[in-house]
Amino acid sequence: MIDVSAFHDALGIMFASAGSWGWIVPGLIIGLIFSAIPGISITMAMAIVLPMSLYMDFFPAIVFLTSVYTGAGFGGSVPAILMNIPGTPSSFATTFDGFAMSQKGLHNEALGHALFASTICGIFGYVLLLLLIEPLADIVLRIGPLEMFAVAIWGMLLLGSLGSTYISRGLLAAAFGVLLGTVGMNTAGFTRGTLGIPVLLDGISPIPAMIGLLAAGQLLGLAGRDYIIDADGAREVSIRRILAGCWGTLKYPGVLLRGSIIGVVIGAVPGVGSSIGNLIAYAETKRTAKDSATFGTGNPKGVIAAESAVASGEGGSMATMLALGIPGGGATAILIAAFMMHNIVPGPGLIQSQKPMVYAIILNNMVQATVLLAVGVAFIYVAANVVKVRTRYVLPSVLVVATLGTYAVTGEIAGPITLFIFALLGFALSRYEYPIPAVVVGILLGRMLETEFLRSYQISGGDPLYLFQRPGAVAIVGVMVASLGMTAWSKRKQRRAEAAEEAALLRQLEQDKVPAPPRASAIKG
């Protein structure tokens, strides 16, 4: 639990270096802008500012970099909501209901929901972190491949809630995505599907592939329209409605809490990152919601659930980094480098010797998240104006920026080529009604599924009873099966009740011997 005297010292560090607080707003804005541009990841934004931070003192440098990180955690949801193209993989699940909301003219509210869900859960994640950083670090190291495999399967369950006209095509699309996710050299050193292209040894880069797939279908769909939102009156940008959306987020404390816990735990696992947390949080919220049928058609809970796991996941990732010196993802790897460049080595030693500093960093992240509430409102107010621009101007700009973004990742032409190929693929998939999100989920999870399954097999020597030596994995599978079972049970009950009601209604109609009136009015009566 929390060490009171270290906490006191941490407050001292915070206020002694109050000048470094000036880096919060620029950091947040850089993070927001970079992550809102499709094709540029959080990692890249951090990589670009890392050399700058070399010329600062330690605490301001860390404040600056973590502010970029905090801002980037939210920015990705802006294009996800407005254009159905996630800025970063971690806001992929936000597109499901966010874009549907903006189609209904609720883009102000959707952006408000996303901002508050992301930020409040981020703060909650850091509070958890402050209390639990040491035990969490030990738990993280104990998470083995079998537990990770169970988590990946849990993420795949999202496929069930994506909904598509044909189940067979949905499954086929997911299998195709998983297959694409396994291209490259696997963990055992075998190379598959690289066509002799060296770039593919590291696998298909998920960001250009995802943007290509999603943007192609989406942009072609939008090209026929004048504006992103059809209805004339709906294209307003209103600070009042954004704030109403922000405030409305607080009506769903259950969704926020569940999302943050999922986010923190999954974010803390090294090598998983926040791109999976949002999928699981969305799927779980949808499955347990009473109105699950309206998810995907603009249910605010969908936006809130997805975003709740993003910023909290960063908290989890930060815990692993500070406590163990292990990066949870690309962005924390850069933070570690920044620490080391200032002669501070994150890891178990850091927590023991410099606990006040660790607390001060966590506290500063809470401050950043609070500041983001205000900066974020201003940012979405500006960004939402894209709905007022004709699609003939928006679409080419988005395409150009996304192409540049994917080029900028490595400075290699491989990014734009991937984008182009996957755009063609995305066009073909949507033309023949294969669900593109299923392919994206497959690409995001394919590698993890294969790697962790292979390692579980290697560790156990192929013995399935190994499952019972891993209580953690049993617990995850247990919760998953229970959750599925309960959903199936309640759905069945619901269906039965509906059927019974309908039968009773029909009986009554027959007894009354009146000609059957239109059904809608019958239900009303």
């Binding site: 190291l141 696997n186 055992a188 480098a337 460049m341 080595v345 178990p348 030693g349 490595t410 390692r455």
Partner: protein, 331 residues
Amino acid sequence: MTDFTRREAFRLVAGSVGVASGLVAMPSILRAADYPTRPINVIVPFATGGYNDRLSRAFAPYLEKELGQPLVIVNKPGAGTQLGNSYALNQPADGYSILCTSAAPYIPLTVLLQNAPYKVEDFSMLNLPSRDYTLAATSSDSPIKTFAEVIEKLQADPGSLSIGVQPASADYANMVLAFQAAKIDPSKLRIVTYDGGGPARNATAGAQVDVGFVGGEGFLPLVSKIRPLAIFAEETVDWYPDAPLIGASGLKVDFVEGSQRGWVVTTKLKKEQPEIFKFLSGALERASKNPKAIEALKLQQLATTWYGPEASEKAYLANADKMAKYIDLMK
């Protein structure tokens, strides 16, 4: 009519050709004499934040002082350094592109395993200050205390312990060599593969696997969570003196040295512009021996040892030969 005789005309033409060819040839001579006149690119074939990236950025201010020009760090990650290496070979041999990289094992590995379109000899070493070695370790709460115990257990039952290692690496070759020396059939071991040193270290520290074979240097932040069993080095390693040498375990094992990281140029530069090569190596030597640089880099756990081009080249080629010899173990 002009007063020119034919001979004079010929002389004029010949002279101007001579001057022109002199002008064409001049720049390379000038370049060598004035070098460097503009910023120098340091190609790091890894993403920002890795060892080589940190080394190049931390060392840059001291090297810049000796070179008299700023350094620009260019990260070219991908395909196990093959992309960055190819990029470096495609730059003109004018001394404005140098590499900061894990020369070993990555250059030989890309050549031997990925059929990279270059040779080990296409790169020349300036200085390789950082030397890493394979470390066999367990989690600190493991019942295993020594490497001899590991051998004993595996001799009795090769499947009794799980072993975490990165395939296609020097660590993997060393693991197989050690167990072959102990007459343990490697094909019967329970080997768990990791696609990077980081995940393999986490699995070792978290007791996911019983024994991990992985580059030792990366363990330093996690040193309190592991117990070193054997390090595959000839002499006690200065950054981890607690680690027992593999020789002390009683096994007679040949092994491949681990990573050799530092400053590299293309062999084309060394051959065509020997003055530039000499200038670069002189600047590196002075910067490496600068007490301020040594102190600053030590705080970041970065190496500054000066071995020089000859010794570095020798170590690199010896390492590459060992890897070629044992490449079948790495596949």
